[in-house]
Subunit: 721 residues, 2 copies
């Protein structure tokens, strides 16, 4: 991924001057560039041509940042300095004159400090050299507390807090972070339908980018109505996005300023305005499709492909939810994108960027996106991130921000020590008709308990033993309360909520299904939840792919892949049969026609390209190919293929170091891994064989085999799903 | 002041389009513009041509802000909208298309919301109209928490916190806050001394602004060395400020980009470079000299004039300390500027701006300017601000910021509940050789006690009864500790500090003199402090005008005006006799020649124009004219004239509503006030008389008289100082 992206970047940064020996990358205060870039993105949303910004607090980068590193050189070295902002350079505590673009560092041990002020964009530094260059080993602070007293003596700065610099892949002096843009490539219409004074252009599938008019001329109005559906593009009075343009041109090619999501474009023009043709610049994040999946069922293959495309469309500067209407970064949606990403792009910088933007800075004045559950998903995602990537840095750098966010949550518990929506808190859970959000909701306590477990883990990694003990105690206490308060032996399930101390009669799927894959239930409780809730049609059905994600994950975790395969074909296949080219925010098979496009009391309010719609990517990788890490960064992992009714499947799961590839049919498993130590697990009717490997029998028809890095295994067996 | 300043502003904002009926002023999130403007100023410091930024955290404005107000109109009204940033407008919850520059508000009751995003400069809004216009009654938030649920229903926003908008005097649509500049006026050289390839230009007195070359031509280098003294301008290797210019010009007039403080400019040019003449643009804050003072002693008059000029030079976008080298905003220095300002300009917006910048935003990560005592001065200044101006708004708007700063302080107390420097804390107190800052310093506890008293007062005003009680208790406890720990009956004074539980033998002036005007001492203790400390030459002398301010205030508070008059003539008169045209950062009569200019181990490190040097302005107004408020905003006040050895004096003290003017000689007091209810107090050998007023005898030769607003009083007496 990194290589691909770099090549792409060279396009806009005018490369060529950098010597092959020169190293260096742009660095900044960690999290600050992410917050800045996120503000840029979150403020690009429009609603029918009008700016539509978020309703939560946006944070800012530190406007004054000091960067430093110590070097020990065998010989003097001349280095190049580039800075975004006003700056000074110090060597060994002595200020250099002016703001030098080059400096010579003499042989020996030297400390270089660069201090930068920039209000509009994040202070950022590039130092290029053979040995002296910027990377994430530089230390940064927003407050160096270095003063001199009357006698000229420098203060004790031992209390100054330094973090490691943030960086991405701006590896050339001209690749200024503030100038970053996603890649674009031209796309052309798949069909056009002429109208009086206009036309409706179909780009063949959901897409994202900038409409381009070729040979635009004349004077007058030109209106562009966008539609994810044709109905929407034609509904000039209610379509969600549009551009009203005043044209005065003489045959130029014009690219519109704002990017939009659409499949159809409906052009209406004054008679005096004309153009030769219309195309678009498709805008995308250059990521590699490292994860792959193919199987005997073409509909499932199509679901995987459309899921992957949906993920790619929503993987932008950050993981977006919906690309048409919404275009804000939401923690609940993003936490699913992270998981899908681990089975598709494995683009860790996108996960980190999104988590940093969502967290923002202290003081915490509301839940993430104002939503209680979204705060908890943020914590839980850190656990996942560490498990999949093995990257401790996020925790080592940002544990204090985790702590202050958790303190905010703990400070909002009620007198029973439970979370309950206070004014200004959005208890979201799911888009579902009549969902009760009052009082103590079992689902929220469950998420907090899991968040506290994450905090305990991270406290240990950070070296905060006292914190770890406290969070462990708090999560244990809360889990106890959860079962005492909400588990109903009569219902064989968690009830939904308790209001003013009185448990309601209501059972919903949320807490019940999460408890399964959180592994909070005994096998008996799991079975009970499955029958009384998951497979019980009387319990309110889930209609968003968002919660379908977790529902199907719970079923998979209990080994119900055949059932889930059918559900995928029904639900996602249902969208495909309606012509979907990307997956939707919500899908209700009972609806028909253009009713499918309505939401939020608006005829085209629904997003037809929504990240949470892509969950089959995750389910197929984790529960069918069955690949998942068991220790951080795939140092160890399991491969538990489950065909779930498929005749065969093959696929690739990306890891931090290479791939795990797998083929599986009822009689054969072929597996190869570039990383870690794996355990292949499967059930076979007969005794399986594999040349050059030892297969262990671990139970009734259950087998295990160790997978070593770099070796290829070909197992013959008679698989039982 | 406001009128004067507005006229000045019109110069740069291109007036003329606004109808006489149109009202409106630019508004922003309170404190945000101040922080932004302060960052601009704090980052203009240079050291020998190199950028030199602060070492403490700089905060930022909220980049996304919602402004709203409800109006009730008798008839429809068209209004003008100007915004700094990307914005949307809503009326009654419904979004208007695009970003309108005008809108019509129908008759009846309507709520207007304007939401603005701006990263580079603070989101700011101007709405101009007859009845619908922006002012500080608009409400603002950085987080409206207004979302819609699936059904299109708007969230409960009752928990959204709204503050009143911030504003200043940008009362025209074109007066964009981000474009604000101080005024300039040309000034010309008082003398010139030619040199080979250059000249030394003397502008006659300390000044501030931009050097201008007339008819600059040729190609080559032109170096400008600035000096507050001639010695400094000539010392090209050690002068504090300079500009290295590369000229390539053909006779243009060129104004240098950076403003500098200087009296002398030393030009060195390449032979190929020439110019016709040199002048400068003097840059200043257009404030009115409302306070006045004249007396029988010409040296004191000169001290007052130079003090006023020093105050004017340092009253810029914010109250600066030193205008040459430093150019940062410091809380300790500013707290004295506020007090002097009350007797000179009475420019409350400058006080508020400076206090808001200094406080910055949460989270608190260090003391103000990293200095423990400077945090406390900030609290104490709020008390003074309220007393002098009667303006409760600062407290009502910013009490939460006061609280969080106080929590930061309280969280840093040691096991004895006292302040003690932790790593990263600068215990400043004063520039004084060998001053001990270790352990528990009595002075810091005294300042914290006073700060807690201020908190108690403000908590009451804010309506935080619980907080008020707590702060009252804490200040009481700390005062008890202060006396128990540091008061020495043997020394008849507070000792300086206690280290590891052991009181030192050291007596300094700091805690002792503050305790007097804080009124913490019994009359016996006061007398003891006066004799054992203030008038005791064995106790280390104070050499900064900074602490002289408080030392002389303590003496004045005890009625020692004759002594203080002599001190003023010695100390400030001493600087004048050395040719000072503004007052210095530090003055040691024992030094001679250019030694006076050295500080911080640098030959010209000392500032020759330092705000804290202007204290006679305050002393003469408050303790000689004797005018001071006794309830907020001069609702009541006292006039206690003390000639202190002068034959006569006359002066004017500004108040929020008009002036108090006074003439006083041993036989006569004439007084007139535009405001409140005053009490004139004096001692007279004989029974005083005043036509049309009743004079009350309140003690042995002590008299009091009530001063009514608008009346003029002429009292005959035989005054005793």
């Amino acid at each position: 991924m990194k290589k691909l992206f770099l090549l792409a970047l060279l396009g806009w940064m005018g490369a060529g001057t950098v010597s092959a020996q020169q190293k260096g990358t742009w660095i900044w205060y960690p999290g600050d560039y992410e917050i800045w870039l996120g503000n840029e993105m979150n403020n690009r949303r429009t609603e029918r041509g009008t700016f539509f910004p978020p309703f939560w607090k946006l944070d800012s980068h530190y406007v004054l940042v000091d960067f430093h590193k110590e070097f020990d050189l065998a010989e003097p070295e001349e280095v190049e300095i580039r800075v975004e902002g006003k700056y000074l350079v110090k060597m060994d505590g002595k200020t250099l004159t002016g703001s030098p673009a080059r400096m010579t560092v003499p042989a020996g041990r030297h400390v270089i400090h660069i201090k930068v002020h920039n209000q509009a964009t994040p202070p950022a530094v590039y130092v290029g050299g053979k040995n002296v260059y910027t990377d994430d080993s530089w230390l940064v602070t927003f407050e160096d507390k270095e003063w001199i007293d009357e006698s000229g003596k420098v203060s004790d700065t031992s209390a100054t807090e330094w973090l490691r610099a943030g960086s991405w892949n701006f590896d050339s002096p001209d690749a200024r972070p503030s100038q970053f843009r996603l890649e674009t490539v031209p796309q052309y219409a798949a069909g056009t339908e002429k109208k009086t004074n206009g036309e409706v252009v179909d780009f063949g599938k959901e897409t994202f980018g900038y409409v381009k008019f070729h040979g635009l001329k004349g004077k007058g109005k030109l209106n562009v109505y966008y539609g994810e559906s044709k109905e929407e593009a034609l509904a000039t009075g209610t379509c969600e996005t549009l551009d009203y343009l005043a044209v005065d041109a003489n045959g130029v090619d014009s690219v519109l300023e704002g990017s939009r999501a659409f499949r159809f474009v409906n052009i209406e023009r004054d008679p005096g305005v004309s153009y030769d043709s219309i195309s678009m610049l498709y805008e995308y994040m250059p990521v590699e499709y490292r994860g792959k999946f193919r199987c005997s069922d073409e509909e499932i293959n199509r679901i995987w492909d459309v899921g992957a495309y949906t993920m790619h469309l929503t993987t932008r500067e950050f993981f977006l939810d919906g690309i048409k209407r919404d275009r804000w970064v939401w923690s609940g949606d993003a936490s699913q994108s992270y998981l899908m990403n681990y089975y598709l792009f494995f683009d860790s910088p996108s996960v980190e960027r999104t988590m940093l933007l969502l967290r923002g800075k202290d003081p915490v004045t509301s839940h993430l996106n104002t939503i209680m559950d979204y705060t908890f998903y943020w914590f839980i995602s850190i656990y996942d991130y560490y498990l999949y990537t093995g990257d401790k840095d996020f925790i080592l750098q940002f544990y204090p921000r985790m702590e202050s966010l958790m303190e905010y949550c703990l400070g909002r518990r009620n007198e029973n020590g439970m979370m309950q929506g206070l004014p200004g808190d959005w208890v979201f859970i799911d888009w579902a008709d009549g969902l009760d959000k009052r009082g103590e909701v079992s689902f929220e306590q469950l998420l907090l308990a899991r968040s506290l477990e994450t905090m305990a883990l991270c406290a240990d990694i950070y070296g905060d033993g006292e914190g770890a003990a406290r969070y462990k105690r708090l999560s244990g206490e809360l889990k106890d309360k959860l079962f005492k308060t909400f588990w109903s032996d009569e219902k064989g399930a968690f009830i939904h909520n308790r209001i003013d101390g009185k448990p309601t009669d209501n059972v919903t799927r949320y807490a019940n299904m999460f408890a399964i894959f959180f592994d909070y239930l005994t096998p008996q409780q799991q079975e009970s939840v499955k029958n009384n809730v998951l497979l019980n049609d009387k319990v309110q059905q889930i209609t968003t792919p968002y919660m379908r994600f977790y529902e199907l994950e719970a079923l998979c975790a209990m080994g119900d892949q055949p059932l889930v395969l059918k559900e995928m074909k029904d639900y996602w296949g249902g969208m495909l049969r309606l012509g979907a080219t990307s997956f939707w925010e919500k899908y209700d098979p009972a609806q028909s026609g253009a009713d499918h496009y309505a939401m939020y009391a608006r005829p085209f309010g629904k997003s037809l390209c929504h990240a949470w719609g892509a969950s089959p990517i995750y389910l197929l990788g984790k529960y069918y190919l069955g690949v998942k890490p068991t220790s951080p960064g795939y140092a160890t992992y399991t491969v538990e293929p489950v065909l779930g009714g498929l005749e065969w499947m093959e696929g690739t799961v990306p890891t931090p170091d290479g791939e795990i590839t797998l083929y599986c049919s009822p009689k054969r498993i072929r597996v190869k891994s570039d990383t870690g130590t794996g355990t292949l697990k499967f059930r076979s009717r007969n005794k399986p064989v594999c040349k050059g490997a030892t297969i262990r029998e671990t139970g009734d028809r259950q087998y295990e085999m160790t997978l070593e890095k770099g070796k290829e295994y070909d197992i013959r067996a008679s698989l039982m799903d």
